[in-house]
Structure formats: structure tokens, C-alpha cells
């Protein structure tokens, strides 16, 4: 195994942890190696080995040739204490420490007032498969995990939000839910975005939250399904969060099916996972995205996965736009301006104009959020601006609904529309985000077939 790199900051939020080991130390799998200095969660070694280097942002461990399946157990305590001790952070992307999300320090007044735990099992980013695979393999543990979390957070109800297309998995859940009146499931349409936390709240509870509001404003906590499993494992198996489920997919030798790796030690490199999936497709590739194609970032082969990494996507090769003017439409669903500019550069285009979706609202921390995720506010005005600025192409990162609106006027104006996910979608064999033909609503009865036309197929 290659050297393992444990980042001191595992999620996108919070402060880096401080190492509590030194170079030369022998560490066991599951041993605590770094502790929080502010907002953050414990970091445990995912392998048995020797610490060979500590830099500002990571601890590098040379793994022993033989790796045990077992791990150093966290000490027993209350369920909340064990979730905290296990270093669990949200595994849906942002990596917010779970114990802070579900507990506010007040014994008698939990974060929710008889509220809801909403489990995000939407597997929102297209082409990913590890969340549903995990639920499919062991639905019982998901329900047990939900009850642990519900108890801590003060929730009376749990709702599993899952896309209707996963029929077999839903049937397994339904069989169990018959005997569990506190938990139900909510079916989602197969469009993007469904996993944005305010979208989950809206879909499950019918409450539309302002961009600056947290789900707690709707008396709810949204938690990723894999995170629920990690909580259950911490409580039942005393297991720290050291392994991660990952989807590797795209321009991989042998085809574009999803390679789902369960329990990959955190800190393994992108290169190692691609190798295990079969290596690069000989036709070459464009970029490697760590995370989903909408919200992920381009990464290097040597980069390590973290507790919050869900996928490694290898995209098609970039087309050469030969310096053509490209308009960028920035919205909260897709990449930020920096990511979009990077893509334009990789396409060898020139940024001709930048517009922001009307619903993209800047938050105090500089990030942008969508006012009504998945419901378009209209885009033709932006297209007129792009046209006026002389753009030949536009690149968008919009949701299914907004992409559809862009398409309603863009091509007629002579704008060539590209979606930031195109090369990834081609690589994984997913329809491109262009026009929307499926309904944004689905019937909650699994047996009712919804009014669904097919989305455009690849190329």
C-alpha cells in the first residue's frame, strides 16, 4: 500500500486538528493521531504503520505490509460521546462535525423540539453509487443508526429521502419500516439537486427555507446516510471513522460502470483507487474530479481521500475551443467562479462574460447558496447578456431545471451551451444536463409510474 496521508482538516469546514503523534511513532489502525483545535473532529490513523512525516496540513504514515482488519476501539461512553470520540463528520461533502450538528450542549433542551431527522440518501451527484449500495447491503443498520441520532437530537420522526429509481432498495426499506412507525421514507425524482440540505427539507417537509437558514429552522436535521452508518458503527462496534465508501468511475479501463469500494482507509491516494478500479482508459482523460461533478474539485493523482470524499470521477478529454469567448453562468448548484474559470482554461477558451443566476445569494462567508434549489428563476436575461458580450459558448453549472431554461433560449440565440458536468457525464454514461423531460414531482406510491419521458441520452 502507498503512504497514507491523513489531512489535519478532513472536511471543508472547521479548523485543522493538531497532531498528537511524532515522526517515528508507530501507530495502530484506529489510533487517535490528531485532535481538534477549534471546530473539528478527532482524526484516527486508518492504517497500522509508522509516522514518517508531519507537515502543516497532514500526517504521512508508511503502512505496515500486513494490515489488520481490526482497529483500536474507541472507549465506551454515551452514544453522543462515542460519536464525538469516533471523529465523525458529515460524509456528504462539507464535513461538518456530526456531534455538533446533533447536540447543542443542553441536556434538557435538545437541538430539535420533537422534530425530524432527515436522512439524505438521495445520492444527489450523478453517477455515484456507494450510498445506495451501502443501504442495500444492510438497511437494518441504517434504521438503528437513525434511532441513535434521533434520540440524541430530540427527534420524534425520521425520514429517509431516496430517489424513486432505486426500487429494490426501497422495497427492502419498506419491509422494515412496516414495523417502525417512527421512520418513513420520502421518494425523490431523479433530478439535480435533491441532496442540497434545504432541498431535502423542502421535499420531505414542504418548508422552503431562506438561503441563510439551517434546517433547524424547520425543526429538522439533515444527515447523510453514510454518516448515519458511521454513527451506528461508532456506537455498536466502537469504531472510529477511518474507512470511507467511494465510487470510482469514468474513463477507467474496462468500462464506465461504477466501481464501488467499501471501507477504503481514509488517506489513500487518488492514484491507488484508480489503479484498483483498473487504471485509466487508454483513450486518455480530461481531469480527475474528487467528489461529484457539480460540487467536486479537480484534483491531482497524489491527493488523498478524506472522510468527506465520496467519489473520484475521471472525465473525458477536453475539447479545444481555440480561444473562443466563453460566458460563465455561476450558480449555487455547480462550481464557483474559480472552478468555472479553471474549466474554461482547460477548454482553452477565453472568459467573455460572467453572470450569476438570479437566485444565487452570497452568504456572509463568501459562498453562494440558491434561494430555491432546483426551481428555476428564468435565465433568458443572462443569455442576452452573454450574447451581447459576444460569447460563442457558455458554460453553466446549473441544476436540471435551470439548465432546461438556459436551453430554451441559448441555442436559439446561437450560444453553444456546455455544462460543467458534460465531460464527467459522458465518461460515466449519464445523460447530459440540458433539457428536462421528467417531472419534478413523483408519486410517493412506489407502484405509481410517474409521467416520465427520458432525458436526453449521451451525445
Amino acid at each position: 500500500m502507498e503512504n497514507i496521508q491523513m489531512l489535519l482538516k478532513q472536511g471543508a469546514v472547521g479548523k485543522p486538528c493538531a497532531p498528537i503523534v511524532a515522526v517515528g511513532d508507530k501507530v495502530k489502525r484506529g489510533q487517535l493521531i490528531a485532535t481538534p483545535t477549534g471546530l473539528g473532529a478527532n482524526v484516527h490513523s486508518s492504517v497500522a504503520g509508522e509516522v514518517i512525516e508531519i507537515t502543516d496540513d497532514r500526517i504521512i504514515i508508511k503502512p505496515n505490509a500486513k494490515q489488520p482488519k481490526t482497529f483500536v476501539k474507541i472507549k465506551k461512553g454515551s452514544n453522543l460521546e462515542m460519536i464525538k470520540e469516533a471523529g465523525i463528520i458529515g460524509q456528504g461533502g462539507a464535513g461538518f462535525p456530526t456531534f455538533i450538528k446533533i447536540y447543542n450542549g443542553k441536556e434538557d433542551k435538545p437541538v430539535l423540539d420533537h422534530g425530524y431527522i432527515l436522512v439524505n440518501a438521495s445520492e444527489c451527484e450523478p453517477g455515484l453509487a456507494h450510498n445506495i449500495a451501502q443501504i442495500d447491503a444492510d438497511p437494518e443498520m441504517l434504521l438503528r443508526g437513525m434511532h441513535y441520532v434521533m434520540d440524541i437530537a430530540g427527534a420524534d420522526k425520521g425520514i429517509i429521502a431516496i430517489k424513486k429509481k432505486h426500487r429494490e432498495t426501497i422495497e427492502k426499506l419498506d419491509a422494515l419500516l412496516k414495523d417502525d412507525p417512527a421512520i418513513e421514507r420520502h421518494l425523490l425524482p431523479d433530478i439535480y439537486p435533491m441532496g442540497e440540505e434545504r432541498a431535502v427539507v423542502r421535499e420531505c417537509l414542504g418548508i422552503e427555507l431562506e438561503p441563510d437558514k439551517l434546517p433547524s429552522a424547520a425543526n429538522a436535521v439533515v444527515i447523510n446516510s453514510e454518516t448515519v452508518y458511521s454513527c451506528a458503527k461508532a456506537i455498536e462496534e466502537q469504531k472510529p471513522l477511518i474507512d470511507k465508501n467511494i465510487t470510482v468511475r469514468g474513463m477507467i479501463k474496462g468500462g464506465n460502470e461504477a466501481h464501488v469500494f467499501m471501507d477504503v482507509p481514509v488517506g489513500r491516494s487518488v492514484q491507488a483507487l484508480i489503479d484498483e478500479a483498473g487504471g485509466f482508459d487508454e483513450r486518455g482523460y480530461g481531469e480527475i474530479i474528487m467528489g461529484g461533478s457539480f460540487t467536486g474539485k479537480a484534483c491531482e493523482l497524489g491527493d488523498p481521500i478524506t472522510k468527506a470524499t465520496g467519489a473520484i470521477l475521471v472525465t473525458r478529454q477536453f475539447r479545444d475551443l481555440k480561444g473562443a469567448k466563453v460566458g460563465i453562468l455561476v450558480c449555487a448548484c455547480g462550481g464557483n467562479l474559480e472552478r468555472m474559470e479553471d474549466l474554461v482554461k482547460k477548454y482553452n477558451g477565453t472568459v467573455g462574460h460572467v453572470c450569476y443566476c438570479k437566485q444565487a445569494v452570497e452568504m456572509p462567508n463568501g459562498s453562494i447558496k440558491c434561494e430555491r434549489p432546483g426551481n428555476c428563476p428564468g435565465q433568458v436575461k443572462n443569455n442576452l447578456e452573454f450574447k451581447k458580450a459576444g460569447c460563442e459558448y457558455i458554460i453553466i453549472g446549473n441544476c436540471s431545471d435551470c439548465s432546461n431554461t438556459v436551453m430554451a433560449s441559448g441555442p436559439k440565440m446561437g450560444l453553444k451551451v456546455m455544462h460543467m458536468t458534460d465531460l464527467a457525464m459522458m465518461a460515466v454514461g449519464h445523460p447530459l444536463y440540458r433539457t428536462l423531460k421528467v417531472s419534478k414531482k413523483v408519486d410517493q406510491d412506489l407502484n405509481v409510474v410517474d409521467n416520465v419521458e427520458d432525458n436526453e441520452t449521451v451525445e
Partner: protein, 620 residues
């Protein structure tokens, strides 16, 4: 873009078009509709066919879609379950001037609200409507021979104030004019009779004190030969000084008539110190004589030409160094004025009064000045008129709004370092004779409470920061109306329109002034940008690099006052034509002439100047 309930109400009689895909069964709400303000562009580009479309008002009453339709589909009878009968449109129309288009509730963000907009003058409002238009306003008077030129109409002030009988004089200031008809460069700075001697070495000393200035040279350009080549004109400044310890806007100001300072600059490599065009060329071909900020025909120019470090033309320290070096020369002249001039030499004395008119509509003038850094800055409140000492750079003040009284403005409280497009930039002399301040303080129908200067910072976050402060300041003034003016175009329009929004959303009617026309079309807009005066004078509606061509003149100020009065009286301002046309301004002028029974003289544009090679090649 989806619209709000308010916008939907304003556009109740416009076609209903879906902004986005909507599924069968959807009950239509304002969020489903595209903004009608952009329909003309969509129809033009063939994206939209409005045939058979129901109006927004017809389908907001619980109408549901009977089939799933895509973005930009007009709502027609066959895709909704029900709709209200058409009404309203026919009844309301005659109440407004029939020939006009519907009022623009929201200015489309990409198209300029363009000129003027059509005004309906409400003559019944306010008795005694009597705008004092000085004979030969604008081009006429200010282009008159030197002696009479400086502030031709200010003398009308006391008369106007007294006539109302209710005006309260807040403060007074006196301008003593001294005639200069000859300027000699020599070994000493002094004034003898009507001859001004300027010590040549003062320029060298000024340059030596500034690290970035390589050289500063003086020469004199006289009316008998204006066909002189000049590098880009950075600023034109009156030569004036305060008497004794008098402060700006109070006491006595001495001013030289018939002579002005002209600041020009290039870098060592020969790059003009200017952005978005420069006015280099023969002066008689590039100077829009008689504009408030420009030189008047007949005046002598003392040209101070600076050469600065390469690359410093676009950095704030460069222009600051030039202006500071030039002021070393001007200050020496000011000192001579204090020492050498006697009351016997005064050719004209003006008493300028700041009057308030209690009971009349209270208005405020907001002047957006450049503060992007780079070369764009202004010195605020120097000790001497248009001086440097004692002033604070606008950029260093964080561009936040700063209040001034009208007399401070006319006494040179702004030393302009602006280097934006020559045709639209407001130079120091512009403020010294600011037409809007002048017209507003002499307008018996309004009570001018003061002038606010607000800088235009570079970053958008800073723009909105100062804009919010401005809105709050205006709110606290409790005014009935406001003007917002700007120089330049493009970047600064972001805060310009934001200022209008911040004031407008507090329920205060606003009229904006800017050069827009063809080239300077607003890059952004909002629902409060519905009353605009276009300062354009150029034939083709462009930044033609003719100095001060498209700056705010008396004729603009008069139109703006009429428009604001109409707006404060609750009159609707008609939307302009979609494409810029002089016709809107002309129609507005005609309306005003009819209402006031007075002829408005309009100023010349670049077509009155000899054609320069540059104009021939680049413009018209």
C-alpha cells in the same frame, strides 16, 4: 427572470410568458413569469412570439396550467384552465399621454433606460413656476468673452431669493473677480494691473518635491492661437484664493477672470495619463468650449505639463504627484493674489447665497465621484479653492458619503483627479460652476438641503457598502426628492444605480443624471431607475474624447428639475425608446418650453469644433 408580486401588478396588462418550464397543474404565480421589460429584445431576436398571449393580470387569479410547457412559452387560452376577461388596459390608457409606451417599472439590466424619458409636467402643482433661465444659458453665456464669463448667472441669485419672500438665507459668500488679460512667465510671481506674472522655476520646484514627477513645465496658451497641440488634459482649474482666514464656502473668495490652470500629463514613454480615452491633440479641436468644467473661449490657459514615471499613469500616486506639483505653482499665484490685489481692481462682486425654502419640496443632490483608486480620486475640502493642502483624498476616506453645502461646492471643495473618459469627466472647474447645484438653489419650487459626495469604489462589495450608507444618510434627511449624478460610465454605473435603488426604496423619488446614450448604456438597473437624464451631447451618443462634451450642463439640470418635480407630484415618467435617440430629449425640452413659456438654449456639441484627425478617424 421570475418577477415579484409588485412587478406583476405593474405589468398586469403585459403578456404573460413563462420564465421556466412549468408542469401541468401548476397554479400560476408571479414567480412563473418572465419580466416583460425584456420582451422587446426577445421578440427582436425571434425568441418570442406574443400572439394570443393572455396578460399577467388575466391569469393570476388561480389559473392553472393544463399542460406541461417549457420556458418562454406565452400563456395562451389553450394551456390554462381559466382566465379573467381582459380589462383595465382600455380604461387606464387615456389617463396618460396616449402616444407613449407603458412606464418602465423595472429598467432592463442590459439596455439603457437611455435619455430623459418623457415627462408629463404637472402645471397645477406649485404656484409661481418660474425657472430663471439666465440669458444664453449654457453655451451662450459661458462662452462669452473672458471678463463676463466666470459665473454669468450667479448674480441672479439674490434677486430670485428675495422675490419668493419666504426664502431663508443660511449663509453667504462673496466672490470678487479680478481681470487678467495677460500672462507672462518670468522670474517672479506677481500681479500688476491686469497682468499675471508666474515664476517659471515654481514649476521645477513643484516637480522636484514629487518623486514620481520627472518634469513640470509651464507655458501660456492665448486666445489668438488655440491651435496648439496638447497632451491629454487631466484637469482645468479656476485660480482662486480665500481672503484672510476665511473658510471654503464662507467669507470672500478672490478669483482671476480670463485665465485658468490646465493640467496635462504623460509618462516618460509618452503614455497619456488617462483612462478610456484621452483628449490629446490640438486644443481647438478637442476642447468643448464653455462647458462648466472646460475652458471658455477667450480665456488664457496656463498649461502645466507633467512627465511622470512609466506605469504610474494608472496608479493613484502618479496623478496625485502631478496635481500636488501643479498646486505648488497655483499656490504661489494665490499668494500673489492675496498680496498684490486691491479692492480697486475688482471688476465684479458677486454675493452668493445659500437659501432654504421652508415649505417647499426638500431635495438633495447626490454627486457620485470617482474613487476606484488607480488614477481615479478626488481631493475633498482643501483649504484653498481647488487646492491640495488640507484636503483628504476621497479614496482614503473610504468613498463614504460626505455632506457639503452648495456654497462649498461652488467654492471649489472638489479638486478633481478624475481621469476617466474626457467627454464625460467632471473636472475641478465643473464643481466651481456646477449647473445642477446652481439651478436647484435658484429654483423657487424646491428647497435644496445640501449636496452629498459619494465615491465610486472599485470592488462591488465596497460599492454596495457606500451605497447603503448613502441610502441611510438620505433617509435621515427626510427629503421629498433626490438627484443622483455620475461622471463616466460602465463600472461606476453599478453603484450609480445602486444609489438610486437605496434612495428609491425608501420612498424618495429620484432622478438620475449620467452619460448613457449609445456607448454608455447602463450595465445594470433596477425598478427605481425610471427617471433618467442623459448628459449626452455628442452626435453619435459616444465618448468622443472631446473634453467635457458630455458633462452635465444647465439644460440637463433644468430638465432634471422638471422631471423630479413631476415625479414628486406623482406624475408618471414615460419609458424611453428602446434604442437611444435624441428625440426624447428634444421632446422633453419642448414640453418644458411650453410649460414655462421660455425658450431653452441648447449647447453646441463637437460638431461645432474644427474636425480633428482623431475624430475623423475614430468618430464623427
Amino acid at each position: 427572470m421570475s418577477i415579484t408580486a409588485e412587478t406583476a401588478k405593474a405589468h398586469a396588462n403585459d403578456p404573460a410568458v413563462l420564465c421556466c418550464r412549468a408542469e401541468a397543474g401548476t397554479e400560476l404565480t408571479p414567480a412563473n413569469f418572465e419580466d416583460p421589460a425584456i420582451f422587446p429584445d426577445l421578440v427582436d431576436s425571434g425568441l418570442l412570439n406574443l400572439d394570443g398571449a393572455l396578460t399577467i393580470g388575466q391569469v393570476l387569479n388561480g389559473s392553472k396550467l393544463t399542460k406541461t410547457v417549457d420556458s418562454l412559452t406565452p400563456v395562451t387560452a389553450d394551456i390554462v384552465d381559466k382566465f379573467d376577461a381582459a380589462e383595465g388596459a382600455a380604461e387606464e390608457a387615456p389617463a396618460e399621454a396616449p402616444a407613449e409606451a407603458a412606464p418602465a417599472a423595472a429598467a432592463p439590466a442590459f439596455a439603457a433606460p437611455a435619455v430623459g424619458g418623457m415627462i408629463s409636467l404637472h402645471i397645477g402643482e406649485g404656484k409661481n413656476i418660474d425657472i430663471q433661465i439666465p440669458a444664453g444659458i449654457g453655451g451662450g453665456a459661458v462662452a462669452a468673452p473672458a471678463a463676463a464669463a466666470a459665473v454669468p448667472a450667479a448674480a441672479a441669485a439674490p434677486a430670485a431669493a428675495e422675490e419668493t419672500g419666504e426664502a431663508v438665507v443660511v449663509r453667504e459668500m462673496t466672490r470678487k473677480h479680478y481681470k487678467i488679460d495677460k500672462v507672462v512667465l518670468g522670474d517672479e510671481t506677481k500681479i500688476e494691473g491686469t497682468t499675471l506674472y508666474v515664476r517659471k522655476a515654481a514649476a521645477t520646484e513643484g516637480a522636484e518635491a514629487q518623486k514620481l514627477v520627472h518634469s513640470l513645465e509651464l507655458d501660456v496658451i492665448t486666445p489668438d492661437n488655440y491651435h496648439v497641440y496638447s497632451e491629454t488634459v487631466m484637469d482645468i482649474q479656476p485660480i482662486a484664493t480665500k481672503e484672510g482666514d476665511d473658510e471654503l464656502g464662507e467669507g470672500v473668495t478672490r478669483v482671476l477672470d480670463g485665465v485658468v490652470m490646465v493640467v496635462t500629463g504623460i509618462t516618460e514613454e509618452g503614455v497619456q495619463v488617462g483612462e478610456f480615452g484621452s483628449s490629446e491633440g490640438y486644443i481647438d479641436e478637442n476642447m468643448m468650449w464653455g462647458r462648466p468644467g472646460a475652458v471658455d473661449k477667450g480665456e488664457i490657459m496656463i498649461r502645466a505639463h507633467a512627465v511622470i514615471d512609466n506605469k504610474k499613469n494608472m496608479e493613484r500616486p502618479g496623478p496625485i504627484a502631478i496635481h500636488t506639483a501643479v498646486d505648488h505653482v497655483t499656490q504661489e499665484i494665490r499668494n500673489a493674489m492675496k498680496k498684490d490685489l486691491t479692492d480697486e481692481q475688482v471688476v465684479e462682486t458677486q454675493t452668493m447665497k445659500q437659501v432654504r425654502r421652508p415649505g417647499k419640496k426638500k431635495i438633495v443632490i447626490v454627486k457620485e465621484i470617482m474613487g476606484q483608486g488607480a488614477m481615479h480620486d478626488n481631493f475633498l475640502f482643501p483649504t484653498e479653492p481647488v487646492g491640495v493642502l488640507g484636503a483628504k483624498p476621497n479614496v482614503d476616506l473610504g468613498n463614504v458619503p460626505v455632506a457639503a453645502n452648495p456654497l462649498e461646492v461652488m467654492d471649489g471643495c472638489i479638486h478633481a483627479l478624475t481621469c476617466i473618459g474626457p467627454a464625460s469627466k467632471e473636472m475641478s472647474r465643473h464643481y466651481w460652476r456646477e449647473p445642477l447645484v446652481y439651478e436647484a438653489i435658484h429654483d423657487d419650487d424646491v428647497d435644496l438641503v445640501g449636496v452629498i459626495f459619494v465615491g465610486s469604489p472599485q470592488a462591488n462589495t465596497d460599492k454596495f457598502y457606500v451605497s447603503r450608507r448613502l441610502g441611510q444618510m438620505v433617509e435621515s434627511m427626510n427629503v421629498d426628492g433626490a438627484f443622483v449624478t455620475t461622471e463616466g460610465f460602465g463600472n461606476n454605473h453599478v453603484d450609480f444605480t445602486s444609489h438610486i435603488e437605496q434612495i428609491g426604496k425608501r420612498g424618495v423619488p429620484v432622478v438620475g443624471f449620467s452619460f448613457c446614450a449609445v456607448q454608455g448604456a447602463l450595465v445594470t438597473g433596477n425598478q427605481y431607475c425610471d427617471a433618467m437624464i442623459d448628459n449626452n451631447k455628442s452626435m453619435s451618443g459616444i465618448e468622443n474624447e472631446v473634453l467635457a462634451c458630455n458633462t452635465l450642463c444647465h439644460e440637463d439640470a433644468i430638465r432634471g428639475l422638471a422631471m423630479l418635480k413631476a415625479k414628486m407630484a406623482g406624475e408618471k415618467i414615460k419609458a424611453p425608446e428602446r434604442k437611444y435617440t435624441h428625440a426624447v430629449k428634444e421632446a422633453n425640452v419642448e414640453l418644458i418650453e411650453k410649460a414655462y413659456g421660455k425658450k431653452m438654449e441648447l449647447v453646441d456639441n463637437e460638431q461645432a469644433l474644427p474636425m480633428s484627425e482623431k475624430r475623423k478617424a475614430k468618430y464623427d
